[in-house]
Amino acid sequence: MNSMMIIGQYVPGNSLVHRLDPRMKITIIFLFVIVVFFANNLASYSILTAFAIITTFITRIPLRFILKGLTPIWFLIVFTFVLHLIVTKEGTVLVEILGFKIYSGALIQGLAISLRFFLLILITSLLTLTTTPIEITDAIEDMLHGLKKIKFPVHELALMMSISLRFIPTLLQETDKISKAQASRGVDFRTGPIKERIKAIVPLLVPLFVSAFKRAEELAMAMEARGYQGGEGRTKLRQLKIKSSDLIVLLFFLAIVVGLFLTRSY
């Protein structure tokens, strides 16, 4: 299947990051995303970059694989960099190309913003790379627990999330299968004028919808047959528990945050 689409594809493993409580991972990433915006000099950026790289290293997922998965994002990062280079007019003029003046401030700012962008995406994709979709939905359900008081359907939301996540690979497989069957019947999805290619999608979409609806019906029936009746009184096979290692990791991360605030310039 499409190897470009690995943003968020879970890679099984048994590293410290894999074993971390998913709620802890989400919390840390949430904090990281906020904290990234406070970095404003070399030292503070270095601390965050070091944290991200060391975390990546700990996961033992091959770096080449992660970087390849970020291919669609590279464009955005480079685009941001170039945009800053052209638009920002601070500091001294470094070089002049074809009438464009490149300022030192622009270079620094472009680098900083691109790096920030890269760190954000790297860290968030590490979450889905090291956490199974089930763990993520469990964690979200648990973290949103408080909303139940205002009658927010937390369990139903989590169930919807896990069902849709569960069926993404199934649908991809189905798409692959049907597009191959139609390609064998002479459909060309890749070349030809746009109008023809849009037309070629119909023989793919109709069977996909038909099978998705059929599958939904079967799933609903199977759930009812097994007595499913919503979240009330439902227990969990895998209980989420905060371990001491989770707390150590959180403390370590908080230390980094403190370090960041000490080194950033005001």
Partner: protein, 290 residues
């Protein structure tokens, strides 16, 4: 069209932690007009193999030759569409590919894509509908109103309407009732003989392989485990058992017959009726000796 595989390797999601070798050093040569059965356990690489036959997959290394078309890791033939008009593929559960408003439109979808003229398409439909055991009254119905078995037949008709020279069948009878299975397989076999097709049948059924195939390829873990005529392959009980395959019933019977009565009858792909005659003759021979 002749089919030749030369050292074909295929790796799914190469260069990722999910890399998975599906075919390994696969080589064989199939002369035109052969009925080939590809047998193997789930995950043995059968489906990957057949997707190489019309360029849906390109080998990671090695070479596939279909008639005059060459498919290698570097290049697919430019006239891939032409190749696909000569290789008809009936996938597993082909009814999942139905999409058009009426049965007629769905069957003519393939030939229309390949630029067959409208009169020719209509002539083909007239010919195919009874061949696959459908009623012409169904032509104006929506394919989604039909029963599972009828949908399967419509989907098969949609592939046959392309008039391929090579017919690839991936477990075409899975999930049908026994009578339907037999009808559809007999239909494919009649077509194979009549139009001198080269047929690839992927199957779990040893009985089908014995009944129809001239040539058998046994796949195991992406490699070719055994190859030969049904007589050569299916008499090797131990080797087959090692890859969790059983010998066909008729050979099981012949073996049991030999150990019970001490009479050894050769396996020559005889029908049950012929076998009964043979047994009768063998017994009479024993009696007249006494």
């Amino acid at each position: 069209m002749d089919i030749t595989f030369k050292d074909v390797n295929y790796i799914y999601q190469a260069n990722s932690p999910f890399a998975h070798k599906a075919l390994e050093k696969l080589s064989f040569h199939i002369p035109s007009g052969t009925f080939v059965a590809v047998v193997g356990h789930t995950g043995s690489g059968k489906s990957t193999l057949i997707q190489h036959l019309n360029g849906l997959l390109t080998p990671t290394s090695g070479e596939v030759q279909i008639g005059d078309y060459y498919i290698t890791s570097e290049k697919k033939p430019e006239n891939l569409k032409e190749l696909r008009s000569k290789v008809g593929v009936v996938f597993q559960y082909p009814e999942h590919q139905l999409f058009d408003e009426t049965v007629e439109k769905d069957i003519s979808f393939g030939p229309r894509n390949f630029g067959v003229a409208e009169d020719e398409i209509n002539a083909r439909i007239k010919e195919i509908i009874p061949a696959v055991g459908l009623d012409e009254k169904l032509l104006e119905r929506s394919p989604f109103d039909l029963s599972g078995g009828q949908m399967r037949r419509v989907a098969i008709a949609g592939v046959l309407a392309i008039k391929p020279e090579i017919l690839v069948l991936d477990e075409p009878t899975a999930g049908l009732d026994p009578r339907g299975q037999r009808e559809i397989m007999d239909m494919f076999y009649a077509l194979h003989k009549e139009q001198n097709l080269t047929t690839f049948l992927v199957t779990h059924s040893m009985e089908d392989a014995v009944r129809y195939a001239d040539h058998v390829i046994i796949m195991n873990k992406g490699t070719k485990y055994m190859e030969g005529t049904p007589e050569e392959v299916f008499t090797q009980k131990e080797a087959l058992n090692q890859v969790q395959l059983d010998v066909p019933e008729i050979i099981q019977f012949l073996n049991a017959f030999e150990s019970r009565f001490g009479i050894s009858l050769a396996f020559k792909r005889q029908s049950v009726r012929d076998l009964a005659t043979q047994i009768k003759e063998a017994f009479e021979g024993v009696k007249s000796d006494e």
